[in-house]
């Protein structure tokens, strides 16, 4: 039950979809995709900004 960080002072909390490793893996992949998308987005914004100077 729970993800890797799920207890504090001997009290266990429960998380959504904690009994579904597939969903947790999908959430983790989603997070990675967001961070990757952020980097791509920033790179695109930089290129556009600097292209405007030309």
């Amino acid at each position: 039950m729970g993800t890797s960080i799920s207890s504090w002072e001997n009290v266990t909390a429960y998380f959504s979809f904690a009994d579904s490793p597939m969903m947790l893996a999908l959430f983790a992949l989603g997070c990675a995709a967001i961070v990757t998308g952020l980097i791509v987005s920033i790179k695109k914004h930089e290129d556009d900004a600097f292209d405007d100077l030309k």
Partner: protein, 342 residues
């Protein structure tokens, strides 16, 4: 349960509702009108919402299984929609709309606005952590609904909300103020179920809500509503959707207590609508009455001169008169004295 910390947290919630209103109405509301509105919001309106959605006997909980541990609905949606009601009667700042087109009114100091937002976000950790109850013994930490939780769940999901919200608002706006406001959007978007969301899910929800909140702010502006800090989008709209999302992702989760229904999509949807209406109606009605009594907005001339100059008789932003780029008379000691590139 009735600890001093708990009382202080509730008092702070009341003050928070007023602070949500304060940013949106700046530069044209009478201070007296703002105080009337904020006293009513902080001591009556949100108390109603809190009683319905947080108290063990509150009808939203006992009838619908309403779940909103971090006050996305009972504080943020209520105060955000109260603000919307006020803004409709208050009108836009002078110069905000020219020929119907929304203009950008820059803050006096962008760094100061960002520092302020960072302080709010920092405070959120203690604020939300103060919302859970330590019972001692075997029971340990519980939420206001008596279901088990812990500090790490609240702290971790608050952090994930902040991170996702910043990313979402940055992608949607590319604007420093909105990017930092995204931290608030993200935290509010997951606050309703801080005790339950998987941190990864919280991050994804916050990112998506960061994008959507910016779109909603633009939508409001296109309607001619001048919300100086985006409070309606950040608090009202985000809090409203956050309550509904609990029903989407946590529907079917049982509540603690006999005869208390499980969390459901319909229950959360009704709860969100109740919060929005509970906030909007009194905000609109009181500000309408103040407007009719000519007690809502500062005189036009005072607005042009600035309220600081006329009412406060202070000059708080002297740096605004200093150009951003001024040649210094102090020589650059690190610079080469010989012509370069010869």
């Amino acid at each position: 349960m009735g600890t001093g910390i708990f009382w202080a947290a509730f008092a702070l919630f009341g003050a928070t509702t007023g602070s949500i209103l304060s940013g949106a109405v700046i530069e044209r509301i009478l201070v007296s009108a703002f105080l009337i509105l904020t006293v009513f919001l902080g001591s009556v309106v949100w108390i109603l919402a809190g009683a319905w959605g947080w108290h063990p006997d509150g009808w939203l909980l006992t009838e619908l299984g309403y779940h909103d541990v971090g006050a996305s609905g009972v504080v943020h949606a209520v105060a955000g929609f109260f603000t919307l009601g006020v803004l409709i009667n208050l009108g836009a700042r002078k110069g905000k709309f020219i020929d119907g087109i929304a203009q950008t009114i820059a803050p006096h100091s962008l760094p100061m606005t960002l520092i302020g937002l960072m302080m709010i976000i920092f405070g959120f950790f203690g604020f939300l952590g103060g919302c859970i109850i330590f019972n001692g013994g075997e029971t340990g930490w519980t939420t206001i609904y008596n279901n088990p939780t812990n500090l790490s769940a609240f702290a971790f999901n608050t952090l994930m909300g902040f991170a996702g919200g910043v990313i979402g608002c940055y992608i949607a706006s590319r604007d420093p103020f909105w990017t930092m406001s995204g931290g608030l959007v993200g935290i509010i978007s997951v606050a309703a179920a801080l005790d339950m969301y998987d941190p990864g899910l919280a991050f994804i929800i916050a990112t998506c809500m960061g994008v959507v909140a910016v779109k909603f702010a633009k939508f409001l502006e296109n309607l001619g509503i001048d919300d100086a800090v985006g409070a309606v989008a950040v608090h009202g709209f985000t809090g409203f959707v956050a309550v509904i999302l609990v029903g989407v992702f946590m529907g079917g989760t049982p509540n603690v207590g006999e005869d208390v229904p499980a969390i459901s999509f319909v229950g959360q949807l009704i709860g969100a609508v109740v919060m929005a209406v509970t906030g909007f109606l009194p905000g609109y009605a009181i500000s309408w009455a103040l407007k009719k009594a000519n007690m809502l907005r500062v005189p036009e001339q005072a607005e042009e001169l600035g309220i600081d100059e006329v009412e406060i008789i202070a000059k708080p932003y002297p740096e605004a008169n200093v150009p951003a780029m001024v040649p210094s008379e102090v020589p650059n000691k690190l610079a080469n004295t010989e012509p370069q590139g010869a």
